[in-house]
């Protein structure tokens, strides 16, 4: 116990706010919004931790980071030790420190949250990871002696990266296959620069490379190579499918083919992966948002990421159209706050009905209907019901549809004996992540449907453990 303060003294310290760039400035560029804690703020925040015996935060973390221990090391000022402690359980701390919904996990169960504000665990995690990164001496964990077993991982998002980190430490040879030209999956194409700088993802990938993970881009499993070929021709002993939920849903309403209407996947891929915000220095264009009225449909993080990109691309008006109320929005609290500060107009209890275009097939307006909340549905949230006679028309030149994804069928449709559910997701045991096909495991959004980075990482860790067991015992 390194904290010199009494519990009462600790509880008197207010939660240290995350320093951030002013909305007026940041809404016109792609710089990261949050600036991060400095060492003094971090230590002050760490001092608030009660070091309670129960450690609910540890239970609340999907990958089981030993939070109490690393916070205590921050109090002691031993930042390298704190980062080493964190890396024991989390191979991507600079990423999770930025994108985890902490308020739903570790911070929600923190004892302090019942008496005001929880310890800023996410902010501390980010501080430690950034400190380590900037010091230039990231100590990657040692690997066990080679086992001679080879594992292929399909996809390179959070599930894949965390599984790769764990498996390579166990001494297995790991190859990650990515369909796009860059490693990182949703961390690269989906989450924007202002929330997760791409340099950070690249650094974490580099750490994994140093640990021995082999990354191969431009390989579409199911097309370039099939799962059966990986197992029977390319000599892999196990395969983990972690392709994510990558087939965007549309609303199937009239006018959805008009120019200017995007899936969030496409809009974000153009803006982030292809760096369209730097057009024409980068070649991939994006629909000109300057002085346009732009709306996103949806209420999750993806919706907010999309509309905040549109604001940065010069949108005049930016709307969020969500069919439920603000309370039901699945987005992170911080993103909602940032979005409102950046001038995004939330039109909740509103659902699109039809898009209208001009004679060149370009979006001009949208017709919406107001909703009210009825009885709870299968998700437990109150079901939105249209309000008769409440339709209205809004001028609109760009619309982004962010209402979730289905499973991408490329792998499933080219793999024998791989069972899926009616939505196209792969059936896998929730604990062992084993699929219906011998030696093949699956985890992350391709099993659960769209979730969060940290839940995907949790799946990656479970998959790694289960694959290791299988490789060591040979029992299926």
């Amino acid at each position: 116990m390194l904290n010199p303060l009494t519990s009462k003294e600790r509880m008197r310290i207010p939660r240290q706010p995350m320093p951030e760039h002013a909305p007026e400035w940041r809404r016109r560029n792609f710089f990261e919004v949050n600036r991060g804690l400095d060492a003094d703020l971090a230590r002050q925040e760490a001092l608030r931790c009660l070091q309670c015996k129960q450690q609910p935060c540890f239970q609340g973390c999907p990958v089981g980071v030993k939070i109490k221990e690393f916070v205590d090391l921050i109090v002691a000022g031993d930042f390298p030790a704190a980062s080493a402690k964190m890396r024991e359980d989390n191979v991507l701390p600079a990423i999770t420190g930025r994108v985890c919904p902490q308020e739903e996990q570790c911070e929600r169960v923190c004892l302090l949250s019942k008496r005001g504000h929880s310890v800023g665990i996410g902010n501390l995690e980010r501080f430690i990871a950034d400190y380590e990164r900037q010091s230039g001496c990231v100590r990657v964990p040692p690997s066990a002696p080679p086992t001679g077993k080879r594992v292929a991982i399909v996809g390179s998002g959070p599930t894949a990266l965390s599984a790769a980190g764990d498996l390579v430490q166990k001494g297995h040879q790991v190859t990650v296959f990515e369909a796009l030209h860059q490693i990182g999956g949703v961390l690269i194409y989906g989450i924007p620069e202002f929330r997760l700088p791409k340099e950070i993802v690249a650094d974490e990938v580099e750490n994994l490379r140093r640990m021995g993970v082999d990354f191969q881009t431009d390989v579409v499993i199911g097309r370039t190579i099939t799962i059966d070929e990986l197992l029977h021709e390319e000599g892999y002993h196990a395969v983990l499918i972690a392709t994510g939920a990558g087939l965007p849903n549309f609303m199937n309403i009239p006018g959805e083919h008009l120019c200017g209407i995007y899936s969030a996947n496409e809009f974000l891929t153009r803006a982030n992966l292809m760096k369209a915000y730097r057009f024409p220095e980068y070649d991939q264009p994006i629909y000109d948002c300057r002085d346009k009225d732009v709306a996103v449909v949806g209420g999750g993080n993806t919706a907010l990421d999309s509309i905040r990109c549109a604001v940065r691309l010069g949108a005049k008006k930016a709307y969020l159209l969500y069919r439920r109320s603000k309370a039901e929005m699945p987005a992170r609290t911080e993103e909602v706050k940032h979005s409102l500060e950046e001038g995004i107009e939330f039109m909740t209890l509103t659902n699109p009905v039809e898009f209208f275009g001009d004679e060149n097939g370009r979006l001009e307006a949208i017709r919406c209907i107001k909703m009210e909340l009825g009885e709870p549905d299968a998700s437990g949230r109150r079901r939105p019901v249209p309000l008769e006679g409440s339709e209205f028309v809004l001028p609109l030149q760009v619309a982004i549809i962010a209402i979730g994804n289905r499973g991408n069928p490329l792998v499933q449709s080219t793999t024998r004996d791989l069972k899926t559910n009616p939505s196209g997701y792969i059936l896998a045991d929730p604990q062992t992540l084993r699929t219906s096909k011998r030696s093949v495991f699956a985890g992350g959004d391709i099993v659960t449907g769209g979730a969060t980075v940290i839940l995907a990482m949790g799946a990656g860790r479970r998959a790694a453990k289960s694959i290791d067991e299988y490789l060591c015992t040979g029992h299926w």
Binding site: R223, H257, D283, Q284
Partner: protein
Amino acid sequence: MFRIVDAKYLAPDIKLFRIEAPRIARKRLAGQFVIVRINETGERIPLTIADSDQTTITLIVQAVGKTTKLMNTLEQGSVIADVVGPLGKPSEVRNYGTAVVIGGGLGAAIAYPTVKALKQAGNYVISILGARTKELVILESEMRALSDELSITTDDGSYAGKGLVTDRLRALIQAGRRLDFVLGVGPVPMMRAIAEVTRPHGIKTMVSLNPIMVDGTGMCGGCRVLVNGRSQFACVDGPEFDAHQVDFSVLTARNAMYREAERVALQHFLHQTEQDVKEESMIAGAVLSTPKRAGCACHSTGKP
């Protein structure tokens, strides 16, 4: 990195590349395509695989916009940052009986592998190649070698018969020939016209669509086309669709979505190339202090 082992012009602005890509070469079937990204700042564009051998794939590129113009500056020994595939569903090849394959302009290169496959499947293959003018007729001898009949049309009458590919198709039908299958590949107006010629006769007709794509694996939905009133993704559900069910108006509009940006990108590229040429000639002229590139106005985008 993917190395170009052979590069040669087939016609003005139309260049053939053989690219080392053994994994793709081994797998690809007629009708499939790759997504290419030339360099770090490049965009991703789909290109149909025209042919392959043990280790290489063949791409035929017509310089139209910035990316294709840049691609056509590449030579044997150059490398391309990314080539991914094979993508899309292969052509539905079986023995239909008599198959007509129509390639308009660069469409000949896209149709070529399917002609080959249709012939191998036992079809009587009639090929029709159309081009604006004589020098833009490509793959004539290759097509002739594979086809039971070949006819060529040029818009200006500078080679073979003057006219449109649809004139030939119509003539075949009017002559009472029994046609069991038609594949049309080329500009959208041509494919639409082919659909209208065969529709009254109920001839199974497929067209290979060329919408704008980004990832090519179904992830972005940018290539969605309206087929039989339903949204389909050309990259995973296509690129070939039943011509009689395709909404060509939607395709035309969506393909024009980035026209202004394409113009800017091309202008930027041509300006840059001009600067490079000036710079090179200065170095060649033994100017001791190389002047710093002034850069054009379009370079002034704010970097993050």
